[in-house]
Symmetry: C2
């Protein structure tokens, strides 16, 4: 059985197998060595993640290998402001830290040897969030078909004209994420800082002020690969599943499969 790397997070994880997505890129990068397993839940915060972790990650059945690593990528929803229209997703900063601790403890108790890689929320382009709200509102007015869910779309009511997220708040949650990583001895990708190193980060990396463009996805992919490598998890270090074509003798191909 191939080892697994689980991607646990919110919409930025759930969407990571779209075109140029960081999850798909990880799968491609680790093909023949690791199964990258998608466990992204759009809109979720750490409070809900704590509630569902046990159900998402049952103990490995007998004979199954423990996972190699987890990415834990929450905070973008926790950082929704408590007095704006996405307040129901907000989690206070101190609880966000507690919840990250709980998630890490849960994984470490179940699989003591695994690598848990935290990823901070990305920076926020507040103007783009407001433009996105307007566009979404227009879409939902003209295409009421999409409202056919139990509670409608939870994002569309924004009479305040203020964004539901700010870059400052996202930065505070990113800093909290880094603190937790340090406290727990976990590696961390500081996406909030890393993206803002590029002067054009709003256009280059964010598609709607929050979610990632292909270039934004590329950064997450590269940073995750780098951090995993520092923990000894790399294509070079992992056994390849079945003989590589370059290691099959053209004169006697079946020799390579004698032990299969």
């Amino acid at each position: 059985m191939r080892p697994k790397i689980y991607l646990f997070g919110d919409s930025i994880t759930e969407e990571s197998f779209g075109d140029g997505g960081w999850g798909a890129s990880l799968s491609h990068h680790f093909c023949r060595t690791v199964d990258v397993v998608l466990r992204g839940y759009s809109g979720y915060n750490t409070r809900w993640a704590v509630k569902v972790a046990e159900r998402i990650f049952p103990p490995v059945e007998s004979g199954g290998a423990p996972p190699l690593a987890f990415t834990v990528f929450f905070g973008a929803n926790d950082a929704c402001l408590p007095d704006r229209y996405s307040a129901f997703q907000h989690v206070p900063l101190h609880e966000y830290k507690q919840n990250l601790h709980s998630i890490i403890s849960f994984f470490k108790k179940r699989w003591p040897e695994i690598v848990i890689l935290l990823i901070t929320p990305p920076p926020i382009d507040e103007d783009a969030r407001l433009r996105y709200d307007s566009n979404t509102l227009a879409l939902y007015i003209f295409v009421p078909f999409f409202l056919n869910t139990s509670y409608g779309h939870p994002y569309i009511e924004n009479p305040s004209g203020l964004p539901e997220r700010t870059n400052e708040a996202a930065g505070a949650y990113a800093q909290a994420c880094i603190s937790v990583a340090k406290e727990c001895g976990c590696p961390v990708v500081d996406l909030w800082i890393k993206m803002q190193e590029c002067p054009d980060w709003k256009q280059a990396y964010l598609s709607d002020g929050l979610h990632l463009t292909q270039a934004g996805n590329r950064i997450v992919f590269e940073e995750v690969v780098k951090e995993l490598k520092e923990k000894g998890i790399s294509v070079e270090n992992l056994p390849v599943d079945l003989p590589h074509i370059a290691n099959i003798d053209p004169q006697d191909p079946l020799k390579a499969f004698q032990d299969c």
Copy 2:
């Protein structure tokens, strides 16, 4: 546990999580409902696939759910001509059919209820294959670092000036694949025919005369989704893993997680 769809095949499967790849697109399409598991092996033919199937697909451990479906996508390497430079990958047509039967029998014996979706090899652009050989040869002459494998790159010796694959041969293997599917009652994607319905198929769908462009990947994705849907496997029919954000009550979010 989420149900699984396995992608079993050669390089066109192994590379299917690259940008715009059909495997990544399936993962994205089925996110929150199915785990799409990559089992692609570049250069492999059905003879080798039969040898390794038992090792790749061990019986599901106790408590594990049987897979939902398999895609079986071989033939592009079997169809290498027996008197050209990739002859070591060639498998005679009658054996190709036998091997597909063996693979289907193996899956059906292990998991009687699963859907096995065959995919024929794509058409071949012979001129592009020759251009690709020349380019690869140049690459390997100027970058000898890449030759650092046990047997070197097996594709580079082509003094004949003739392509290792022809579209006619690929068509014969595609037809054989369809026959096997009919004999076994399996759904099948006739990629060889489907792609050639577009007058510009060589440029539109093939990157090197054999492997797929993003548009070519798109066709595989759409055809696989269509065939799976006809067998009752669709996002609409599958349970969603944990409550969707639109079904979480903003007034009382935790209510949605009472049973988790």
